[in-house]
């Protein structure tokens, strides 16, 4: 006999039993011991077919290949730039991945990206030791100037974006700001200064109230009338 002991989207803590029996398989953030499947983090239960998984409610950003992140240059080396990624690990970007134009051998790299500058970059590779390679060569990737940066918990990023980008396009539309959300939890907002402030408030509010349902509608009201 196999059965699931928790409801879908129920909050579980580390070590809680979520299913019994061999008919279910341990997915993300779970582990099996004997016949039982246990949770490994604080999160929400999810069941897809036979696979049990936990969606974390908090926790660090885990770099993944293909993620678009916002990172800060903190060092320049012979062959490229080193970035702070809002994780425990720094990332490298090679000269050849910085620009589609030809960069001469003796060119001053700080003219392209100086120390302290932020950039929207994409992760091209992550090794088992969490060494990260970045690129800035694709459309939509660029260095950042002006605007403001907001740091949020990276687990809340999907909520900021919303289903098919509904939430983020709502904020963009109502405030007229340009908004880029990095998967590592750094959000870049650029527009008129007062609108920027409003957009920042909206982002912070979504982070704090990410568990509520119908949040997109509430945010719509907040952004038009200032009502909460």
């Amino acid at each position: 006999m196999s059965n699931i002991l928790k409801k879908e989207r129920e909050v579980v803590i580390p070590g809680e039993t979520i299913a019994e029996g061999m008919d279910y398989l341990p997915g993300d953030n779970t582990y099996r011991e004997g016949e039982k499947i246990f949770s490994k983090v604080l999160g929400l239960v999810g069941v897809t077919g036979r696979v049990m998984k936990i969606t974390p409610l908090s926790g660090p950003y885990i770099p993944m290949t293909g993620d678009k992140i916002i990172a800060k240059v903190f060092d320049i080396t012979m062959s490229g730039w080193r970035f702070e990624t809002n994780t425990a690990y720094s990332a490298m970007m090679n000269v050849k991945d910085a620009s589609s134009r030809f960069i001469k051998r003796d060119e001053d790299l700080s003219k392209i990206l100086a120390i302290g500058e932020y950039a929207v970059v994409k992760i091209t590779k992550v090794t088992s030791q969490n060494l990260i390679d970045l690129t800035m060569k694709e459309p939509g990737l660029h260095s950042i100037s002006g605007g403001r940066l907001v740091k949020i918990n990276s687990q809340k990023v999907p909520r900021i974006i919303g289903k098919q980008g509904s939430m983020i396009s709502l904020i963009k539309e109502k405030t007229g700001c340009n908004i880029t959300v990095g998967q590592n939890g750094i959000v870049w907002i650029k527009g008129e200064s007062e609108k920027e402030l409003l957009a920042e408030k909206a982002v912070k509010m979504i982070e704090a109230r990410s568990h509520e349902e119908g949040l997109t509608e509430k945010m719509g009201k907040f952004l038009t009338g200032g009502e909460q």
């Binding site: 909050v11 803590i13 580390p14 070590g15 809680e16 039993t17 953030n29 582990y31 246990f38 490994k40 983090v41 604080l42 999160g43 974390p56 409610l57 908090s58 926790g59 660090p60 885990i62 994780t87 425990a88 690990y89 720094s90 088992s128 030791q129 969490n130 687990q155 109230r209 990410s210 568990h211 509520e212």
Partner: protein, 236 residues
């Protein structure tokens, strides 16, 4: 004269009134507060973050670093000199080891998770409150753990086995033993076991059995603290 009634009127296996709360420090990645009678422990967790000095980095797994500190006028005795002491260093080490047993940082090589536990008010059982609080704070920070760790002290006062000793019992004028115990919830594995004083082998086994029941009560509280944090948000 045997110890027939406890100094604060509790039953022998009764714990002090306890309280636990998660997410009490906004700047930390995870945090918790645990109160057990007149002992209060705040735990804050930061990380995983880059570990310096570099020679301490472990390329196979992340490590845990712990700080434990009692505040200057937290106890009932003399002022405690702030900063590190032999005692606080040792307690930080045992807390670290007892938690390390269940934390899985294999996904974060070379990194560190810092745990800071501070006690603004103390009345015995500080390392137990610290471990229980740190366990909640780690879960709150989203650190992968195989199980929660709950901790409570047991002991023997003048021939009677009791749970969760307060300072007056530790200082009771007879033969007293004070045994802090930390246990995992599912498997009841012991991750901390220390002793001060003396106790017979039979009574030690009795005390450990009592600890197993007592840590379950602590676990219930820890679970409630973590689930409450999100329940509040759902209601709003």
């Amino acid at each position: 004269m045997a110890y027939t009634e406890r100094v604060d009127g509790r039953k022998f296996d009764e714990l002090r009134p306890m309280e636990a709360k998660a997410g009490v420090i906004p700047n930390a990645d995870g945090s918790a507060l645990v109160k057990a009678g007149k002992t209060t422990a705040y735990a804050a967790v930061y990380g995983p973050r880059e570990l310096f000095p570099r020679f301490k980095q472990n390329p196979k797994t992340g490590i845990v670093r712990c700080h434990y500190g009692m505040m200057p006028f937290s106890g009932s005795g003399e002022r405690i000199r702030p900063g590190n002491s032999r005692r606080s260093q040792e307690i930080a080490m045992v807390i670290e080891k007892s938690l390390n047993a269940m934390i899985d940082l294999s996904a974060f090589p070379n990194a560190v998770v810092d745990i800071y536990v501070d006690l603004p008010q103390t009345d015995a059982g500080t390392r137990c409150a610290a471990i229980s609080a740190a366990s909640i704070a780690l879960a709150d920070a989203g650190i992968p753990m195989k199980d929660m760790i709950s901790s409570v002290a047991v002991g023997e006062v003048d021939g009677t086995v009791v749970a969760d000793l307060c300072y007056d019992e530790e200082a009771y004028d007879a033969i007293v033993s004070d045994i802090p115990v930390a246990m995992t919830h599912n498997t009841k594995e012991i991750t901390l076991l220390q002793m001060d004083g003396e106790i017979s082998k039979e009574d030690l086994m009795k005390a450990l059995e009592m600890a197993s029941v007592a840590t379950d009560k602590v676990y219930e509280l820890q679970m409630k603290a973590l689930k409450d944090k999100f329940a509040v948000r759902l209601e709003k």
